[in-house]
Symmetry: C2
Subunit: 636 residues, 2 copies
């Protein structure tokens, strides 16, 4: 890595951050020049946080999503669904997004410009720490602590800090408002009346949760099963930064794996148990240690990872990312600290990938317990539950609260209903205490919250008992384990991990290369007639037809440019193989990274390319079974 950074930055400007910036800029410029991405609506001066995938970027994205479908949906027999982006308010109220999906914002009090409160403090702190040479050790420690806990601060605390440090609007130096929450969902209105509020979904997961009942039925009323969805999600960021990493619209791929909370084992866990990679458990983070290599089986058996199913998905995510070409050394699984996790979550791990912006969360893998299905059950009134049928009935002891309605009616008249509901709502402990009190004293004071007062309950008004019952099934709310993939972030990190430069043959310039594996490469193969000549062009067309039939994406380049320049052009797009037509009977195939070339007959060219691009064969095997070709002229 460092070597690559160095090769990009000529003259070490000053420390790693300058190198990182320069590396990022080189990658970014290459990506933009070759249309991997395009700032959206560029001719209208664009919109912050919106980017298009240009042709090669779009092909990379298609390849990543196709592999995701193969690796997760097909191999794990998941139920894939496809729900709309437009979502009515009720759904997002139940999920908590209407209330809590917010960032804290401050406004320039004169100009109205908006800033994220935490960003201002972060920038202030970092700048002070970097540039203020007069900063006392004590003050520096205080700032470092502030930066570490920034995510946990309330609006009031952030506001107090902004005041304390005298932070003003960055562009105008005007005073700032107090921080207040801004909801990050794009709001809209459904239908012509203007009366039905809706939002563009901030995640795809809710579409799966609300369909739980149907999907469970579709799966033969059996657990565990997983549903999956790929689709657009939207976050109206206050001030998008970090280029392609923090955007206002992005593609998510999410899995919701439903399990019995009493049994989170996974039938295929043994297939991933021996994997060993960088993990960063809570304890290591708290004690200031760094990530370490732990075999996944050990992490689960020692309880570092909460359960087998969560562990299984961590392993599958590791395989997915590394198959795409993410560098194993710059990928770690970091466990959420207690204060990062929602109160209901059992455990949560992020797949973080290191890039020039630091360690970036690209996949979240969370055991969300029964929270989501509970929330929708409660708000919709539809029970999102599973049943376990017992092979033979089981005897269970059940609390029975039987109000004597006649007595209650006489005593409470119009309020009878409220009293009955409150009595029936007692939990086992409360009921057993009341039973004891009634037996000893004959009556008891009882608070009815819907009446807002105490009433007097007498012994003849209800029967409390424990009865043995035979149950034929257990009804419960499943837990959900959710791996959620930010596809754009994964692709951006992949770009950085795949990028390197190497000197041109003449040594006068640095050439850019993306070392995408064939699985990901936007184009699998280029076809070059060595010189402009009708015979060679005819041969190129024949090969192109064979490649088309084999379903291999490719490009013919018949421009008169030197073959070396044409190779450089496709290396910069990450095209793994090039077929060069230099005779009418045989051609050469060049591999991008080694620049090695073999000679194959015309008829074989397409099938060799097919074998090395769809993973049947490795280049090394092809290299050892065909004659090598070396040509001075072929690679200037």
């Amino acid at each position: 890595v460092e070597r690559e950074l160095q090769s990009v930055v000529s003259g070490s400007g000053g420390g790693a951050s300058v190198n990182r910036e320069a590396f990022r800029q080189t990658v970014f410029n290459t990506l933009e020049r070759r249309l991997f991405f395009i700032p959206s609506f560029k001719i209208y001066r664009g919109v912050a946080g919106l980017y298009d995938y240009g042709p090669p970027g779009c092909a990379v994205k298609s390849n990543v999503l196709a592999f995701w479908r193969q690796h997760f949906v097909l191999e794990e027999d998941m139920l894939e669904v496809d729900c709309p982006c437009v979502t009515p308010e009720a759904v997002l109220k139940a999920s908590g997004h209407v209330e809590k999906f917010t960032d804290l914002m401050v406004k320039d009090e004169k100009m109205g410009t908006c800033y994220r409160a935490d960003h201002l403090l972060k920038d202030f702190g970092n700048e002070k720490l970097e540039k203020d040479l007069s900063l006392s050790a004590e003050k520096a420690a205080e700032l470092r602590h502030l930066l570490a806990v920034l995510d946990d601060l309330s609006a009031e605390e952030l506001g107090a800090k902004i005041k304390e440090y005298g932070i003003t609007a960055p562009d105008t130096k005007n005073p700032l408002s107090d921080p207040y929450p801004f909801n990050l969902m794009f709001q809209t209105s459904i239908g012509p009346s203007g009366l039905i509020p809706g939002y563009m979904r901030p995640e795809t997961a809710q579409g799966i949760f609300v369909n739980f009942k149907d999907l469970y039925y579709y799966n033969g009323n059996k657990l565990p099963f997983a549903a999956a969805q790929i689709g657009q999600a939207f976050r109206n960021e206050i001030s998008p930064r970090q280029g392609l990493l923090r955007v206002r619209e992005f593609t998510l791929a999410e899995i919701e794996h439903f399990v019995d909370p009493q049994d989170k084992s996974h039938a295929k866990f043994s297939e991933v148990a021996n994997l060993e990679f960088l993990m960063f458990p809570r304890e290591e983070q708290m004690s200031g240690k760094s990530a370490k290599r732990i075999p996944l089986g050990e992490a689960v058996s020692k309880g570092i990872v909460n359960n087998e199913t969560l562990g299984y998905f961590i392993g599958r995510v590791y395989l997915f990312l590394t198959c795409l070409g993410i560098d194993k050394e710059r990928l770690r699984f970091r466990q959420h600290l207690a204060n990062e996790m929602a109160h209901y979550a059992a455990d949560c791990w992020d797949a973080e990938i290191e890039c020039s912006y630091g360690w970036i969360e690209c996949v979240g893998i969370a055991d969300r317990s029964a929270y989501d299905l509970h929330a929708h059950t409660e708000k919709s009134g539809v029970a999102l539950v599973a049943q376990e049928k017992f092979s033979e009935p089981r005897e269970v002891e059940k609390l029975v609260i039987a109000p004597v309605k006649k007595e209650l009616g006489l005593a409470f008249k119009g309020s009878q209903k409220n009293v009955v509901e409150a009595l029936e709502a007692m939990n086992e402990k409360e009921a057993m205490e009341m039973k004891a009190a009634l037996e000893s004293k004959g009556e008891v004071e009882f608070y009815v919250c819907t009446l807002g007062k105490n009433v007097c309950i007498k012994k003849n008004m209800l029967l409390i008992s424990k009865e043995k019952k035979k149950e034929h099934q257990r009804v419960f709310t499943p837990s959900v384990i959710e791996p959620s993939f930010g596809i754009g972030r994964i692709i951006y990190c992949l770009y950085e991990h795949s990028f390197y430069t190497r000197p041109s043959k003449a040594g006068d310039e640095q050439l850019n290369v993306f070392r995408f594996p064939p699985l990901v490469a936007p184009i699998k193969c280029t076809v070059f007639p060595l010189v402009q000549n009708q015979q060679y062009e005819e041969v190129a067309k024949v090969i192109s037809k064979l490649l088309k039939v084999a379903g291999i994406s490719h490009k013919i380049d018949i421009t008169g440019t030197s073959i070396g320049k044409r190779y450089a052009r496709t290396d910069e797009l990450g095209v793994p193989f090039a077929i060069t037509v230099d005779s009418t009977s045989s051609v050469t195939i060049r591999e991008r990274d080694s620049k090695d070339q073999i000679r194959v007959s015309l008829d074989e060219a397409a099938s060799v390319i097919k074998a090395v691009t769809d993973g049947q064969t490795k280049w090394e095997d092809v290299w050892s079974s065909y004659p090598h070709h070396s040509s001075e002229s072929a690679d200037d």
Copy 2:
């Protein structure tokens, strides 16, 4: 077709429309029960016009889109892009959507309920024509005419008709407001300030147009080329009807093929010229004739279809739809009438598919001339143009208007700039008229619109001449030919065209079947152990593994249900092949529609399935090369 409709509707209730309704209901119920679709947010009582694709529907959609990419993007070397749904207002103002993407709406004056004005008139007209037996021939003709021209009526005309017929709100009989335009775009706001209006895109095309300059460059500054995009589009329908056909969010697949307006030939037209299918030219529609079979080559050479490129895409769309399984007899290409086309369009053809709702537009194929690029050039100030470099310079005669600034300055002082601009803006005809007038009269009255008045132009104030110039290139705005696919509509029509029923073996019930081709089928193959037995289940698992490696989507069904019931269950999902494990050495493969079975060895099962599902082999060939299997027990 009729036979199938009949087989669904027991007892002919009264005419084709009842049959169609019953057929649609049967298909719809099957689709909903098997989760091909799910009304979105169902547990919250749903939202009109929003539907989810459930697991089999989602798989069908994936297959259709993968084939679209193969058939169009890969085979035609198109540049695929992927742009955001959130779109700033400037883009949609330039495209005309902010002003014109509206439907006319009326409101129940007391309740506020909204209706589409044309729908109310349509319902009124149809009901009158169907049920009012006292209707005079004259009145009936008037209503028929109204229904025919409904789309062309202005707000005022629709309002007058609603008044004339005394139409009131359908639910309450309250009076209705005058019709007024309602914009069908979902509006939102970008960023936290609330000051940047945005919309959810109503089509994907604009994302391509605004990127024309970059894409043209990416294509080596050569025409013709095509860009393509698959993505979500949004229309906030006033009152969605027609079930899955008219929805508020849908997937579009659009192609923008850019050509030189002076040369709309297509290099591959000969490949489709011999296709012959139902076409419904403007002339046939106007003269009350019906669609007719015309060879595509003839349609182009006779000028029925405007140009070769448009014709080429019509042919490719025909091949696309029929490969998916759309019935050739219920597919026609209908030319837009003059009043249906935008003023700028050169020609426009819709691929219409007949289903229970009538003939439905599923693909629009329009020659939009240079309209879109012109509009964005004008509004953005960025020239979206192409250049044709001449191999040698060409001599052209050019108008030259040379104002004599000194004289103009003396005469007009502060207004000089306005006058000069107006003079320079004259077209050739105006300029040559002025030249003649100045030569004969010495001066001439000239209207300057930016001043709002006439000024007197004298002979010494400007020189008008025609000069011969050498030009090295021609700069022009390309024309665009746009095939635009409503993916959801195509899929719905495919469901109807693929659905049929057949009696169960016992003859006591009708079984549902979707005859999807393997290309489209949501699952390619099911694996059934004939009876519940560990040995057979092991064999099923081995086959499943082989299928997984071959990338074939499949399902194992180990329930104890009779094999006949299990076949019926998968026929209803359109699964084309079933492997039944009835021994540990060989298995049977059953084809869905013929119900024919062959016997193959265990090792061959997966490869036979692969060959017949990926199109290498046809079932007929497999049928003739393997031993047949007939089993009474296997198909009850």
